[in-house]
Structures are given as structure tokens and as C-alpha cells.
Subunit: 154 residues, 2 copies
């Protein structure tokens, strides 16, 4: 399904919330109630985002979290990497080492390219893009995008 983990998904929701009120400091508790995600979970994610330098934290009473950069400087690729590590569709996209495959699979180089392409796509979307309303022709767009997925079933 090529799925992001739930935590990564939450992270985008949390970051979107923070971006929509950028500059302000938000306590974990506040974020939890605003997003409806349980506090311990929010807390865990926020820590990871701080470690990845996407957020800055302030300790103590009146402390909390703020974005480390403006929303247009935070890419989706960065968010995903913060939670899941390097973007890599296959094991061999990560390391240069040969995988265990008997014959030497010969498609490794191509995986690397494919992976790079996906990465570029995710790099080109920023948090600023994500909090923007869906572009105008709402209905038309919905139709367009649903067709290809459905066509996989024919």
C-alpha cells in the first residue's frame, strides 16, 4: 500500500496545525486537544520533530514548541524522514551493498532512480503548500484524481 506510518500522518497534522499559527509557542497539551490525538502520542512525535530540527522547544512553565523554520522551508520529504528515516522504497535503495539475491538483481540502479524521483516529488511539497486550501476547481479535480486508481482494478 506504500503507506506512511500513522505517526507520520499525525506529524503532518500536528505540523499543519502549528503552521497555521506560526510563530506562536504551543504546548503539547494544547496541540493534543486541538488535533484530537492523545497527549502521550503527541508528545512522542513532538520529541522526534525536535530531534530532527523541525521544531524548537522551550522547557519549563510557559514552554512549548515552535517551528524551527517558516512553513515554506519545511518539505514533506523532511517530515517523513524525521519520523521514518531515509525515504527508501526498497532495502537496496538505502545501502550500496549488494543484497542477498543470488544472481545480483540488476535492477538496483533503477530502484535508486525511482527512489530519487519519489524523493524529489516529496521534496517539492512544503508545509506551506499543505495548509493551503485545495486549488479552485474542487469538483473537477476530485474526478481527475480518482480515475487512475480505479483503473487499476480493470
Amino acid at each position: 500500500m506504500l503507506r506512511l506510518s500513522k505517526l507520520t500522518d499525525y506529524a503532518t497534522v500536528i505540523l499543519s496545525f502549528m503552521a497555521s499559527d506560526s510563530g506562536t509557542i504551543h504546548a503539547a497539551m494544547e496541540i493534543a486537544s486541538a488535533t484530537g490525538i492523545a497527549l502521550p502520542t503527541v508528545s512522542k512525535i513532538l520529541k522526534q520533530l525536535v530531534n530532527a530540527n523541525l521544531l524548537m522547544s522551550t522547557r519549563g512553565a510557559k514552554g512549548g514548541y515552535t517551528l524551527a523554520r517558516t512553513p515554506d522551508k519545511i518539505s514533506l520529504a523532511t517530515m517523513i524522514t524525521a519520523l521514518e528515516g531515509p525515504i527508501a522504497l526498497t532495502e537496496c535503495s538505502i545501502s550500496q551493498q549488494a543484497c542477498g539475491q543470488a544472481t545480483g538483481c540488476g535492477i538496483r540502479g533503477n530502484w535508486h532512480l525511482i527512489n530519487q524521483t519519489i524523493h524529489n516529488a516529496l521534496e517539492s511539497v512544503t508545509l506551506a503548500d499543505m495548509i493551503r486550501p485545495i486549488p479552485a476547481k474542487d469538483a473537477a479535480w476530485k474526478q481527475e484524481t480518482l480515475i487512475p486508481i480505479a483503473s487499476l482494478y480493470r
Copy 2:
């Protein structure tokens, strides 16, 4: 990590092997020893590929599997979908229903768009591409897929 499952990875190896000797019928056993993947696992994957209409099977002695189409007609998106179901980075990319998020997350529409872009990228790579030596810079598919999502908004 945005990872494909191991089985999907195996599937690409199996299909690559079959594509490199396209037209011939291959028994599961043969594929297992050629690829170094254990027979029961190979067998499981082959069945899924038949169900997804990527392979055709022949029963009985001298039976086996062949590609249902030529390698240039089999996209990576199709292979992934065969093993993992529809390509969807997030839960809400799949269904039209609102997710449980309290406030209504407001980024759902954008997820659809991102998802579509990834899907297009994977659709543009075929099995034929994958068994070719690493493409030169002018390869058509590479260029096509480098569409910046952000540009869709501007």
C-alpha cells in the same frame, strides 16, 4: 521509510527474471532457484500476481507461469498494487470519508494530490524499464516524473 513490503520487492525480482526471458513458461520451482527466494514464498507471490492478472498460469506437468502482457505494458504501479493494494500514502487517500480528526484536517485534499503524483511516477516506470541497464539522462520516464507538486498550486 516509505517502504515497500519485502514480498513486493521479491515480486519485482521475480517479474524481472521472467521478463528477461519473456514468452517462456517458468515453473515456480525454476523461479525459486533462479532468484534464490524460497519456494513457498515464490509460490505465494506468483499466485497473487496471477490474481492481479499480471501473470497467466498453466496447471499440470509442464505447467508454470508466463507474463500476461509484454514487459513494457506492466507498470511498477501495477506490480505494487498487485501485492499491496491501492497506492495510498495515508488512510484518507483511499476513502472519501472524513477521518476521525477532530477539527477536520484541511489537508486531505492536498494528500490526494501528492498521492496522485507518486502514483503517476510509479505508473510511468515499466518492467521493461527496470530490466534495462540504468537509463541515460535522456530517458523519457525520468523526465516525465519530475513534476514538482508545488507547481500545481501556483
